[in-house]
Amino acid sequence: MTASPWSEEQRLLGAIRAGDTAAAEELVERTYSAVFASIYRLCGDSDLSADLTQETYQKAWAALSGFDGRSQLFTWLYRIAYTTFLNYIRRPRRMTSLDEPDSIDVADETPAVDAVLVVQEEAEHLREAVMKLPEDLRFTVTAHFWGGLPVKEIARIEKITTVAIRKRLHRAFTLLESMLDEEPS
């Protein structure tokens, strides 16, 4: 008989809390790809995602004693990752463009690449729209679709009902639709 994911997670957590480094490594191996993917969907930059993923785990180790185990481990990790991302984008930076130096002429005539680029542009446009959502809706959408968290889990960490989460998702879709229908600036 195999252990349920929940009990397996509790076992892992118990081992980590007992100081088992191997268990911590196992946790990392199981979760880091998903954390990386979640952050990548938020920021769209692979190098930055790797850095923020690393930072997420650093924060996780520091906050381990405060994790009460009521939500799933990945839900907790996702919340840390999301906060890490928000902290990153809220840092002040001045990267407005200088006036235009000559740019390199890069072309690719193959249709497949064009199609890929169109999809990438659409994805980027969608990502920008999601980032413009109000904070509560943005977290709900990203946690559900990009973090892969079930509605029940999101409701648990947001301390609201699942119905409220579904309402948030509905409002988010309405806003996203209106934003996506606008011409990209």
Partner: protein, 491 residues
């Protein structure tokens, strides 16, 4: 909102393509796992530590109380007290016992002793032994006072050392987070800039004449290094990093990272002369301006970034930057910077179908193996490329490969970065600030060598500095570029 549209948005949200995590990410995260994960064990350790500290504190309080009691009760033989006793001898005191008299005299002698202690604070230590017989508490007081003085001196020196290590971290800017303490100390001992200003005539900015290198004004270098450290945005190595900073390498992978190169050139320019072309170490300038990473790095990290050239790109001239950063460690006093990797080899392979001409920026041109790659290192190399345009977005332009054997786990690691045509599609202004500073620093160095193109660089540097007013290095680059171009870029 109709259900079809909703489903479409849901599908797009769910189907965002995600690349694979970098190969070294797992190792990076694992290396961050702390040794003390056990919360209970940590708590117990913390409790033990608190208990121990409380016991020490209680012992100190008891000792101080005993010392204070001894000071009050014990008869003193200090000269002042003896004099006081002698002075009081003629006075009749039939009702008081001898012990009471001595107690009274000690109380009267106290102000004199306080003056003496105050004198001891000012007087050189050699005079302290003239007090022939001090009460134990008095000796303890003087010792405590000396200890305080030492602490004050140490605090001042700590400030200097803190600045030195700060200077080092920034001074390596691209070089090694470390530096040369002895040199910095010599600089700190040299006259202040105000003195220099008083003793030498004000420099005439133009016309330039080639001149031997002028050593940098020390206090300016100090402020500069401190500012660089601030700009670098890295946690500075604590003051204990100090005594072995001569170990900071001047080159890494054959790329010059000499942190003093910029200071020398700037000093020459500030003195009104123009550095001789042969004295301009462009690689070191690139590393100065590329600086340390914005965030603390763990392990070994490679960055590669491409952009059009900042000036004169003409649709095909481009810059490729590769940077290696190694993890920052604190080095104990007298210790040396430990290696993070052995047998580190950095290779770059250009696709000749995409690149027409390759110009390594700087003198070495050849990357060499590092037998021992140290911690606290940031090294940046730049290549100026003439691309065969139009490039295809997915066309490989270059492959950069870093292989090394980790000191920590003994395993061989490889980091590979493939640079493609799409990497060159962005504008120079969209590149990272580190990339822009490094490439402008390179162009500035080249302009000093060739005596041309300085005004374009100055204009770009002014723009960059105005975009990032808090970036000390951008400001420095603007200042030197404007000064060396003969007064100003185009505003």
């Amino acid at each position: 909102m109709n259900s079809k549209r909703k489903a479409d948005i849901q599908r797009k949200l769910s189907l965002t393509a995600v690349p694979r995590p970098p190969d070294d990410l797992l190792d990076r995260i694992k290396s961050d796992i702390p040794n003390y994960l056990s919360v209970e064990a940590e708590r117990a350790r913390f409790s033990r530590s608190i208990g121990f500290n409380l016991r020490i504190a209680a012992s100190i309080i008891v000792l101080i109380s005993i010392a204070a009691a001894l000071y009050v009760v014990t008869p003193t033989k200090s000269p002042n007290a003896v004099v006081a006793i002698q002075q009081r001898k003629p006075e009749p005191a039939p009702t008081a016992s001898a012990t009471d008299e001595v107690r009274l005299d000690i109380v009267q002698a106290a102000p004199a002793m306080q003056r003496q202690i105050a004198d001891a604070r000012i007087a050189p230590p050699a005079e302290v032994p003239r007090v022939e017989s001090e009460p134990p508490a008095r000796r303890a007081d003087v010792r405590a006072e000396e200890g305080r003085r030492r602490n004050e001196i140490a605090a001042v020196e700590g400030g200097v050392e803190g600045f030195v290590s700060g200077g080092v971290a920034g001074g390596t800017v691209g070089g090694v987070i470390g530096g040369n303490e002895s040199r910095d100390r010599e600089e700190a001992a040299a006259p202040a800039p105000q003195q220099l200003a008083e003793s030498t005539p004000a420099p005439v900015p133009t016309p330039y004449a080639y001149a031997p290198e002028v050593p940098p004004p020390p206090a300016t270098a100090a402020a500069e290094t401190r500012a660089m450290a601030k700009t670098a945005g890295v946690s500075l190595v604590p003051p204990v990093y100090a005594d072995d900073l001569n170990l900071a390498p001047k080159s890494v992978f054959g790329i010059s990272v000499d942190p003093s190169a910029f200071r020398k050139i700037r000093a020459t320019i500030e003195s009104g002369a123009r550095p001789s072309p042969s004295s301009v170490d462009v690689e070191a300038l690139v590393n100065y301006f590329a600086g340390a990473p914005a965030r603390r790095v763990r392990g070994v990290r490679m960055e590669a970034e491409a952009s059009p050239a900042p000036v004169g790109a003409n649709g095909h001239r481009a810059i490729l930057r590769l940077t290696i950063d190694t993890g920052v460690v604190d080095v104990p006093e007298g210790g040396s910077v430990p290696p993070i990797a052995k047998d580190a080899l950095l290779e770059i392979d250009f696709n000749r179908d995409a690149v027409e001409r390759i110009d390594p920026i700087g003198d070495s041109g050849t990357l060499v193996r590092e037998n021992a790659l140290l911690h606290n290192v940031s090294v940046t190399g730049l290549y100026a490329l003439d691309l065969r345009t139009p490039l295809k977005a997915k066309q490989r332009v270059a492959t950069i490969r870093l292989t090394y054997r980790s000191v920590e786990d003994g395993k061989k690691h490889t980091i590979v970065h493939e640079v493609r045509g799409s990497d060159f599609s962005k504008q120079w202004a969209s590149a990272s600030r580190r990339h822009r500073l490094a490439s402008l620093g390179a162009l500035w160095g080249e302009s000093l060598r060739s005596s041309s193109g300085g005004s374009d660089v100055a204009r770009r540097a002014e723009e960059l500095a105005s975009q990032a007013p808090n970036d000390e290095r951008a400001r420095e680059l603007k200042e030197v570029a404007v000064a060396s171009s003969g007064g100003g870029g185009t505003r």
